[in-house]
Every structure is written in C-alpha cells, then in structure tokens.
C-alpha cells in the first residue's frame, strides 16, 4: 500500500499547487477573460470542489488496485492455464479508471475556459522578402539556367546511382525464374509425403495434390491439382488428345488470377449452364473447367489454368509427359510465352 499512499500524496500536492496558482501579472495577448478591469490572473478563478477531488482519489485508487492486480495475475498463474482474459481486464480496467479520473478532473477540477483569439494570418510582407532574399542572392550568377540545369542533371545522375544498388534485391533483369517449372517428360508425380501416386488411386469423386519428384514443393511451378473425369465427356483443345490417360488430368494448382491455390473442386451450381464439376480458387472465386482443359468459366481470371500432360508408367504411377501447356501463376508481361 506504500505506492498507493505516495500516489495520493503526489496528487494532493499537485492539486494544491494548481489551486495556489494565482496573483499573476496581467497579460496583454489574451482577451475574453472576464474583462472586469481586474486582470491579475491568466487562468480564470474557480471554486474548490472537495467532493470531486474525493471522487478522483477513489477512481485512482481503483485504477491502482487493478494495476497491482495485473502484476498478481501475471505472477500467480501458470502458462498452461494462462488467464489472458484476466490480464486484459486488469490492464484495461486500470486504464479506464484513470480515464474516468481524468474526466472528473476535466469536468469538475480544472477551470473550464472558453477563450477566443485571431486565426493565424498570412504574411504578405515576409512572403515578398523571402522571394527577394532568394532572388538577390543570385545576383553574381549570369548563366542561371545553365547552372541550374547542370545541377539538376548531376542530382539526377547521383540519384540514379544511389538507387542502382536496389537492383541487387532480386533477379531484376532475369525473369527466367518466372518461366521455369520443375516438370520434364518422365518426372514422377508424388504426393505431399514424397510417395508416387498411382493412377488407380485417383477417384472420380475427389481431387488430389501432386508434386514433381525431387523438386522443391514450394516452387509455384510445382504443385498440381489432379482429377479423374469421364473420358467420353472430355473436350480438350486440339493437340492434347493424349494428355489425359484414363481420364486423369493434371493442372497447375496455382490460380492464374492472383496466385492462390486452387483449393476447391465443386459440383455444378447451376447445371443448365455449367453441367460439370469445376476447379475453384477460394480467394476471388475464379472457376476453371477441367473438361475443356482449364478454361475460365467464371470469376476474374484472365487465362486458362495451365494443363500438364500425363502418362502412366509401367508400375501404374503417374508421370509428366512434358511441361505445362502455358506458364504458371498470376499474369505478367510475358506470362503467355511457353514455359521452360
């Protein structure tokens, strides 16, 4: 309770010194303080309010208790049963009670004055003088434009030089990393645990995620979304006739709109217009039709989902039969070039 007594003493001192402020010389810069001729004070006098002072003391006492409470709660509980709520209540309530005390101070204990004064004005004379100083300072210089131009050119060149090291941040000139994918003819498709995915394990009612064996799965050229469809219903673009052995298709799992993962495989929402299952990105609901080779049927994506040609090896596992039909990931200047 010592700190609490100190606090009261401190506050009492403060309140007393505030009340004693008086008998100050009059001031010329201010108007609106009464104007009764007796201009000794700057801050108008008010009547003491012992009751309000008591309220403030009580509020501060409660705030102090809550602050101590925070320390106690912090010390007493184990990490396992961490009372986050209690910590928040203690700290929050302590702050709120200080706020309440200050509100009483503002409303009842300090003098509420309404003063008026002029808004700040423009300074036409000084404005002219500033312009004049700058103008007259250049009186010895004859070729102002040439010198200013030379200065600007030098400044620009130095600025350029200062910015150049920023190019080291990343491969600015070489956009190759955006073009490349780890998929090559014969690359085996593996699951999240690195196990080969057999064609037989691909069920028509689900969808699967695959990766290139031995490559970094975090490379956005890596992840595939794999589905099995009815081969009779496929309408793949020309030249992709043999890309879907047994009706198994693989697409880049990275949405061509903004780069999120194609995390949804949905049933037809309106069978009249969209009779087939579709691959959906949950970020902005770009929706791709796997039957037609990943074309956009809905949502903001501007480009089909790149398809990866598949083949089934002698062991019955899925392998790539080449690289994607297009570059993977969100659009940029050269995204419609062939992947490497």
């Amino acid at each position: 309770m010592k700190a609490w007594q100190w606090l009261v003493a401190l506050f009492a001192l403060l309140a007393r010194s505030l009340r004693r402020r008086g008998r100050r010389r009059g001031d010329s810069g201010e108007s609106g303080d009464g104007g009764s001729g007796r201009r000794e004070r700057i801050v108008a006098a008010g009547t003491p309010e012992r009751h309000a002072e008591n309220v403030v003391l009580v509020l501060l006492a409660i705030a102090t208790l809550f602050a101590f409470g925070f320390v106690v709660v912090y010390a007493e509980f184990s990490p396992a049963g961490l009372p986050n709520e209690l910590l928040g209540i203690c700290l929050g309530m302590s702050l709120l009670f200080i706020g309440a005390a200050l509100t009483v101070v503002a409303k009842r204990l300090v003098v509420t004055e309404e003063l008026e004064e002029d808004y700040p004005q423009e300074h036409p004379e000084q404005q002219a003088e500033v312009a004049e100083i700058i103008h007259e300072s250049g009186s010895r210089i004859t070729r102002k434009r040439l010198l200013l131009g030379a200065g600007a050119a030098t400044g620009g060149a130095l600025g350029l030089a200062a910015l150049t090291p920023a190019l080291s941040l990343g491969p600015v000139w070489d956009t190759g990393p955006l073009d490349r994918t780890p998929w090559r003819r014969g690359t085996r498709v593996v699951d999240e645990n690195g196990q080969p995915i057999s064609a037989a394990s691909i069920d028509q009612r689900s969808f699967y995620t695959g990766f290139p064996e031995g490559a970094d799965p975090e490379n956005i050229g890596s992840p595939l979304v794999i589905v099995r469809l009815d081969p009779a219903k496929l309408e793949l673009p020309a030249g992709r006739g043999d890309w879907a052995p047994d009706g198994i298709l693989a697409f880049s799992k990275i949405c061509t709109h903004a780069g999120c993962a194609i995390g949804l495989y949905r049933k037809p929402t309106f069978p009249v217009l969209e009779p087939n299952n579709a691959l959906v990105c949950p970020c902005h609901y770009s929706t791709f039709d796997p039957y037609t080779g990943g074309t956009v049927i809905y949502g903001p994506a501007g480009r089909p989902l790149p398809q990866l040609p598949l083949e089934i090896d002698a062991a019955g596992d899925l392998r790539a039969a080449g690289n994607f039909s297009a570059r993977v990931g969100p659009g940029w200047w050269a995204v419609r070039e062939q992947p490497t």
């Binding site: 709520e85 928040g88 503002a106 002029d118 999120c260 501007g302 659009g331």
Partner: protein, 457 residues
C-alpha cells in the same frame, strides 16, 4: 506563483529561450465538438500499436526455415512449419501476456483504421480540407494508405494459412503492374512466390522500422500543419467566424480531456485484446503455397480491395503474345489509386467548380454544401458496395443468396445506387436549407407580429 514551478520553467527558458513558445502552446485553443476527437482516437491507437508492437518484436522470429512443431498446442504436433509461425504460436500460447499483447496489437490496428476513416469522413463532409488545410488533408490521406500497407505487412508476417493467402494475392497484384510488374515483384520477393528466405526479413524491417518511422513522421507533419493554421470550428455562436477562433485552451482545459480519451482508448483496446478473440492463428495452421481455404476474409480495411478483385470480369489486356494489363491490376492497383487520387485532388476539384479561393476556418454542416455532400455520399457508397462484395461468400453462408446472383447485383448496383444516392442526398440537403430559411422567416414574422424587434436566429 509558487516557487517550485518557477524554477524549472526558468531553467528551461534560460537554456532554450522557449518560454514564449511554451506559453503559446499551453494556451493553444481547441474548438469544442465531439467529432474532433476521431483523429485523436487514431493517434492514441497508434501509441498502443507502438507499445504492443515493441513487445511483440522481442519474441518474433522472421525465419522461413522449416521446423517440426512439438509445442504445447497438440493439434499441430508434428506439423512442419516456418520459424516465423512457430514463434507467433509460442508467443500466443506459451509466453505470459503474449496473447494479450498480440490481440491488443491486432485490435489496435483495426481501430486505428476505423478512426482514420471516420476522421476522413468528418473532415470531408465539413469541408475542413479547404484552403488553408489542403496539405493537412493530403498528408492525412498518405497516412491512411501507409497505415493500410503497414497492417497488411503485419498480418503477413505471422505466416499462418491466411497470411500466406494474403501474400500470394499481393504477389499476384505486384506481378500485374503493366510491363515492369514481373521484374519489380521479383526484386521485392527475391524469387517467384513465396520468395527467398530474406523476403521475410525485408517485410519485418519494413513493418517494425521503415513504415512506423514514416507513419510517425507523417503524424508529426499532420499535427504541425494543424497547429500552424489551428482547427476549424462550427458556427456555434456569433463569436465564431472565419477570423476568430473560440475554444478551450490546451492547458488546463483540454489536456485532462484528451488524456482521459487516451486512457479510454487504451483501456478499451486492452479489454478487447483480453476478452475478444481476434485472428486465432493456431486454428489456421501453417501456410504452404499449394494450400488455400474457403471463406477467407482479410482484415476489414483490405475488404474493398478483395471486393474489387472479385468483381472484375474475366479478361487480360493483351498485345499479341504479351500481357499488357493482367486482371488483378484493375482491382488491386487502379481502383485504390483512383480512390486516393479523387480524394487527394478533391480540394482542387471542388475549387474548380466553386471558384472559391477564400480561406475557410468555419466548418460547413453537411447540408451547407449539398453537391459536395451528395458527391461524398455517392463516392463512399461506391467504395462501400465494393467492400461489401468482398464478403459475398460470407453473405452467401449467412443469407443463402448465391454468390453468382450477388456478383450481378453488385456489378450493376455499384453504379446505380451511388447515382441515386447523389440526387437523393442533394435533395435532402437543399430541403433542409430551405426549411431553415422558412423557419427563420416565420420566426421573424411572428416576432414582428408580437411587436418585438426581429431576433436573428
């Protein structure tokens, strides 16, 4: 005057010659209106952000190196995750007071943005951006958008599933900048998404140093500009004019009020941080680029951008084989730049129409400028509808209105509703003004009928 006060003041003045400045500062006048507190709420939320942020920085590890989690939260036991996510998990679940600080930090960021946006609306609808306060307005807007980026980086740093989805979209929007998007985004990320390991260090230093310093500087400039020309005031009595300011002095009147507000804001934020769960990152799990979840929503202040990205029809602008404008550019870059451009240029746009070059220290009531108010309502509604569509998937879950139906409703509604509101709002403002004139005339007539001299309203 008591001696204990005179001595320190003399000490400071003799060494800094600042007594005139201090005197002026103590008696700086604040016009009294509740809506003037909104900016202060933002300021105090920023202070809580700094305080809690410093605490969090002492525990956070911006590492992308994968580790296997064997901590106290058993549902994630054995999961592969980044050092960053693991450090935030442990900070939240193991370190005493860590969760309180993290949740308070997150709540403060959301409240900070709410306060800034409400403050912006107050300033807009009262015409407080007019000469001589155009610079204050522009600095304030810069603050808003810098804070937006800061918040985005903040929740990206956690590296949970939602963080990663947000970063992927940021990467997509970066790539979509015409021509230079590819090299520029590669430079920032260091490599294609999810980027080089050093990318997290870059985000970290930006979030805890570069942008906070920029924010603090902008706040400082904003406040200095306000103090240079003082606050605006409403015409509440005949004493308040464009030339004379009426208000409460900083000391002793305003100081305890403002401090009380500071403690209230901080108190509410810590209560929220303690009692109301926000972003329970342990439930989202770690992020991998091949994972995404349905129904993901960003923090509220990014809702308008996700809405714009979702509303865009499906097309890329191409030149032959090259993609000039990839689709996310419209919603992710053009839309926000257009909004900030219109708002930022508004003081000059309005001046072009009104030809009003005068100094305005009196704040308008919204009805006093019917066209401005109508435009503001229409423009903000336009942005707000895009914002609402950002939650269309949640609206579907809550109300069963299909996403497709909403898409077409909003694509039309976002143009029709603001235009309607423009005319409705302007009508209301003009009628209110007309009614005031009628009332004044009637009162004057009644006064004259009673044989008294007219009493001006």
């Amino acid at each position: 005057v008591s001696e204990p006060l005179v001595e320190p003041v003399r000490f400071i003045d003799e060494r800094t010659a600042s007594a005139p400045l201090m005197r002026k500062f103590l008696r700086y006048l604040f016009p009294d209106h509740w809506s003037f507190l909104l900016g202060e709420v933002a300021l105090y939320a920023f202070m809580v952000l700094i305080a809690t942020g410093i605490y969090l920085a002492l525990f956070y590890d911006p590492s992308t190196a994968k580790t296997i989690y064997h901590g106290s939260y058993t549902p994630l036991d054995g999961q592969m995750m980044s050092g960053a996510y693991k450090s935030v998990l442990e900070l939240s679940l193991n370190d005493k007071a860590g969760l309180l600080m993290r949740q308070t930090h997150h709540w403060s960021a959301d409240v900070f943005m709410v306060a800034i946006v409400l403050h912006l609306m107050r300033v807009f609808f009262t015409g407080a951006f007019r000469k001589p306060r155009e610079l204050t307005w522009v600095v304030g807007l810069t603050l808003l958008f810098t804070a937006l980026l800061e918040g985005y980086l903040g929740y990206s740093l956690v590296d949970d599933l939602l963080s990663g989805i947000g970063l992927a979209i940021g990467y997509g929007v970066g790539l979509s900048i015409p021509v230079i998007g590819g090299p520029l985004t590669l430079a920032i990320f260091g490599a294609p998404f999810p980027g080089k390991a050093v990318f997290f260090s870059r985000m970290y230093i930006a979030h805890v140093f570069l942008i906070p310093v920029l924010l603090a500087t902008l706040i400082g400039v904003h406040l200095i500009l306000i103090m240079a020309r003082h606050h605006t005031q409403f015409r509440e009595s005949r004493r308040t004019t464009d030339k004379r300011i009426v208000g409460v002095p900083l000391f002793p009147g305003q100081a305890p009020r403002s401090l009380a507000l500071m403690f209230f804001v901080a108190g509410v934020l810590f209560l929220l941080g303690g009692l109301v769960q926000i972003n329970p990152i342990w439930q989202w799990g770690p992020f991998e680029p091949w994972q995404a979840t349905n129904g993901a929503q960003p923090d509220w202040y990014l809702g308008w951008l996700i809405g714009a990205l979702r509303l865009m029809p499906s097309f890329d602008v191409t030149i032959g084989h090259f993609t000039l404008v990839p689709n996310p550019f419209w919603g992710g870059v053009v839309f926000p730049l257009f909004v900030v451009g219109v708002l930022g240029a508004f003081p000059w746009i309005e001046r072009r129409f009104t030809k009003d070059r005068g100094v305005h220290n009196l704040a308008d009531r919204p009805r006093d400028a019917p066209t401005r108010t109508a435009f503001g309502v229409a423009f903000l509604t336009w942005v707000f509808l895009v914002f609402v569509f950002g939650s269309a998937d949640r609206i579907f879950v809550l109300f069963g209105l299909s996403y497709d139906t909403q898409l077409y409703i909003f694509r039309i509604g976002m143009w029709v509703v603001p235009v309607l509101l423009f005319f409705i709002t302007r009508r209301i403002c003009r009628d209110l003004l007309a009614a005031e004139v009628a009332d004044a005339t009637r009162e004057q007539a009644e006064a004259e009928a009673r044989g008294h001299p007219a009493v001006p309203a």
